[in-house]
């Protein structure tokens, strides 16, 4: 049976969270943990920027909207992947705000059976209103919706 849901739930903001000020120390620790050696990622100073995927450490206060279809609400999901569209670099002193929306909901049938994918979009901006990243989190549920 095809997944049925009210398409009006797509695109609506369901969470907004502002994170604490980004520090140089945490940017350097993140980059070093990845084995990064480029000075722009590991040397504190005016040139320091966040390693690109630093943005995915940020998340909202709740990951799914309350109006997710009932069949999915209580089931365990798996992180199937992510898509990141990068914007302005994150720098020490930035305050990042995340707006969460339910971006997509679809069903797919593959060799291992039917799966439902829920895509939660995080739109991240800094304190100047510049977009630093748009992150689509693809969560997978095994079985029909």
């Amino acid at each position: 049976m095809a997944l049925e849901f009210d398409r009006n739930i797509l695109g609506g903001e369901f969470d907004r969270a502002e994170h604490e000020t980004v520090t140089a120390e945490e940017l350097v620790a993140f980059a070093r943990a990845l084995g990064e050696t480029s000075p722009c990622y590991v040397e504190a100073g005016p040139e320091l920027v966040a390693h690109p995927t630093y943005c995915i450490r940020f998340r909202g206060r709740k990951f799914f909207p309350d109006n997710l279809p009932e069949g999915l609400r209580t089931r365990m999901s798996f992180d199937a992947g992510k898509d990141i569209d990068f914007g302005a670099p994150i720098r020490p002193g930035d305050r990042i705000t995340i707006v969460s929306t339910l971006h997509e909901l679809y069903e797919k049938t593959g060799r291992s059976g039917t799966m439902v994918f829920v895509v939660v979009r995080f739109t991240m901006t800094n304190q100047r209103g510049e977009r630093v990243a748009t992150v689509d989190n693809r969560m997978m549920y095994r079985g029909e919706g």
Binding site: A29, F30, R32, G35, E36, P52, G81, F86, P89
Partner: protein, 137 residues
């Protein structure tokens, strides 16, 4: 920041890497600590086994980060525009992984290149696959 790789010096079919990397458990723990994601499945073998895993695993986000080091090292820092990945298998620490990529397309108008990128195990299994867009000079 280092200059971007030159558009004219890039050709479809060019390889990125492969870069062999021994993924130490302590490196995974350092990442988990750095992102405040210090969950047992990323830090402790026994605790991970109790969750039904074969041992501690690498966070998917860290796999993305490792692929970014490959792309950044090739294109130059600050030139990654988009990255999308699919997590296909568990990336287990305490073994060697290979970070790989290839140029699939160039766009003269935007001076960008499209890449296929992936992480493979020592046995050649592709554990994480993805695509990326980079700016070129």
């Amino acid at each position: 920041m280092a200059p971007a790789r030159r558009f004219d010096a890039v050709f479809e079919g060019d390889d990125l890497g492969p870069v062999e990397h021994f993924l130490a458990k302590d490196q995974v723990r350092a990442y988990a600590r750095a992102v405040d994601h210090y969950f047992p499945r990323f830090t402790d073998d026994e605790a991970a086994r109790r969750e039904g895993l074969p041992g501690m695993i690498t966070p998917g986000n860290m796999s993305m980060g490792l692929l970014t080091t490959l792309i950044d090292g090739w294109a130059g820092p600050g030139n990654l525009r988009r990255l999308g990945v699919t997590f296909r298998g568990l990336v287990l620490p305490d073994r060697t992984i290979r970070l790989c990529g290839a140029v699939t397309q160039k766009d003269e108008a935007t001076r960008t290149a499209e890449l296929d990128v992936w992480i493979e195990s020592d046995e050649g299994e592709r554990l994480v696959i993805g695509t990326a867009t980079v700016s070129l000079a």
